[in-house]
Symmetry: C2
């Protein structure tokens, strides 16, 4: 098994000031753990990285097609989007299609995650709504599943609801775990989320990557939607979107909160799961990029838009560069 060094440091005046430990698991198309950083069995929460596997039940049920939805809806359902007008419009359209409205979403409002989304909302003089929540696409898809399956819509986000039972079954199937071995908690958006070892997260993404050339129809469609609509998966200045764009969809990444990140390297059929031990997002993006470099999944010369995420200057209140956040090696 290949050992990866993915730790990230923050320096000041050339001296390391802070250190982020990074764990990772890399699983190949044969379901084998082929590379690791730190502890590849680190047990943590999957957070928003689980989204593709939470929307698959709706797609597989036929409900998605009954609504005549397409790749835009599919990409947004997998997204941690930036709350930009285009994202909000699709989420609203999804709710309209099933006769529901913003207030039916169980997620709370928050400021748009993307710089452009935040600025446009500020300029409009309006306050953030639940549609701006980065998970509003996932929630709209869950409501659509309840709608098309004829289940109650109220409480769709809670453990025990049929929508969540199906999501858990999907997560179990893709990660190779028994449902009873998956930890359950409440996510930032109020919905059930899942805890497990990194290796199993990587396994699910390896299987997803594998579908790009050879796989079940629903997963293949979902991956294609993410690959061809990077803006809808994140936003105009969001890391995942830029990574998908710059690799022309060969690499599909999905951010999670608290430093967890998963990647499907479609042309190699491998999956990667990364966790910054302390949960810091500033270490997350450089660690993902370093992992992809070590796995030969990026061009030797990193495109400038990605390079900005690999090494980030630290500036002080005077605007001087006083250090940087970068891979330790």
């Amino acid at each position: 098994m290949k050992a990866l060094e993915l730790d990230i440091v923050a320096t000041r005046g050339g001296v390391v000031e802070s250190h982020h430990r990074v764990h990772a698991a890399v699983v190949d198309a044969k379901d084998s753990l082929t590379a690791a950083a730190g502890d590849p069995r680190q047990h943590t929460h999957w957070r928003s990285c689980a989204k593709p596997f939470q929307v698959l039940p709706l797609l597989e049920s036929g409900g998605f097609d009954d609504l005549q939805w397409g790749d835009d809806e599919l990409a947004l359902a997998c997204a941690s989007h930036g709350g930009e007008p285009e994202h909000v419009a699709i989420a609203k359209r999804m709710l309209d299609a099933i006769g529901l409205e913003e207030g039916d979403l169980a997620c709370g409002p928050h400021e748009p995650f993307s710089g452009r989304g935040a600025k446009l909302l500020r300029d409009s003089g309006e306050r953030p709504s639940r549609l701006h929540n980065n998970c509003s696409g996932k929630h709209a898809a869950m409501l659509a599943y309840a709608h098309t399956a004829g289940w109650p819509k109220v409480g769709y986000e809670r453990t025990g609801h049929d929508v969540q039972r199906c999501c858990l079954e999907s997560v179990a199937r893709w990660t190779g775990l028994r449902a009873g071995d998956i930890g359950l908690a409440v996510d930032g958006c109020g919905v059930v989320e899942f805890a497990m070892p990194l290796e199993h997260m990587a396994r699910a993404y390896a299987r997803l990557a594998h579908t790009s050339s050879n796989g079940a129809c629903a997963a293949k469609r979902l991956l294609a939607a993410m690959r061809t609509r990077p803006f809808l998966v994140g936003g105009s200045d969001r890391f995942d979107s830029i990574l998908i764009e710059e690799t022309e969809g060969r690499v599909v990444a999905k951010v999670g909160a608290e430093g967890v990140h998963c990647v499907a390297i479609t042309d190699q059929g491998i999956g990667v799961a990364i966790k910054v031990e302390d949960g810091a997002q500033r270490a997350q993006f450089p660690a993902v990029l370093r992992a992809l470099q070590l796995l030969d999944a990026l061009p030797e010369e990193l495109p400038p838009r990605l390079d900005e995420f690999l090494t980030r200057p630290l500036r002080n209140t005077r605007g001087e560069t006083v250090g940087e956040v970068r891979p330790v090696s």
Copy 2:
């Protein structure tokens, strides 16, 4: 040597999601390392914890008294203040006294660090000025040193200026290091700051604590100013201020950026230096409190205002409590 466990975790649904490693050194009145967490010789940056030792040269020079300044100015010079009107007024008064103005401060502006300061500034419709910078008191004192010593005022913040030469000598004397062994970098506020092993930071605070009963006049005055003016050292909702208030000045703490924190336990004559390895502030305050508990420096039943900093609930976008940040044990 006593081993302390100061690591902090973030949980979700009862399962650990993220883990912050914490290093610490505890030095007693005899200059000995008596307790430690992780690596007590961890090399990192002292940041704002150095402030007391950066203002001592002015106090010892007599310049401070020539200006007829008192404990308010002294406490503010040691502060990472909250940018509240009282802080800003004292910083302005200090500049007025030496015929200077806000624009002479080398620090940049930033939003006030305290909730009250930020709200009052927002309500006033004004933008943050350099006086709101949490370090404006330190900068005003440095300018006052240049003024009273007859040195140029321009460039007072840079390596090589006499003010900074005296600060480095002071830091070397109190930490027990040779000046040449201290790393130099630029702080968030643009001024020289210092890198060294945690043990030496703890040594300086042990010596400072020791002065409360038996010590040099200038340091004793400085410590008394911090003990009797906790609001000026931080602000109305700032951790250090609350800690000093709740211990009636027996414990004097000084926050630094990137997870570094120093404490003088005055009635025991000991000093503590703590570093959250990854720099996260959310782990810093609980780690300081756990260290003080393990060193018997806090009441057995923690006052509610401090307890809020020991265990902090994590809420999601719906306002539900979904986990907590707390000591690992």
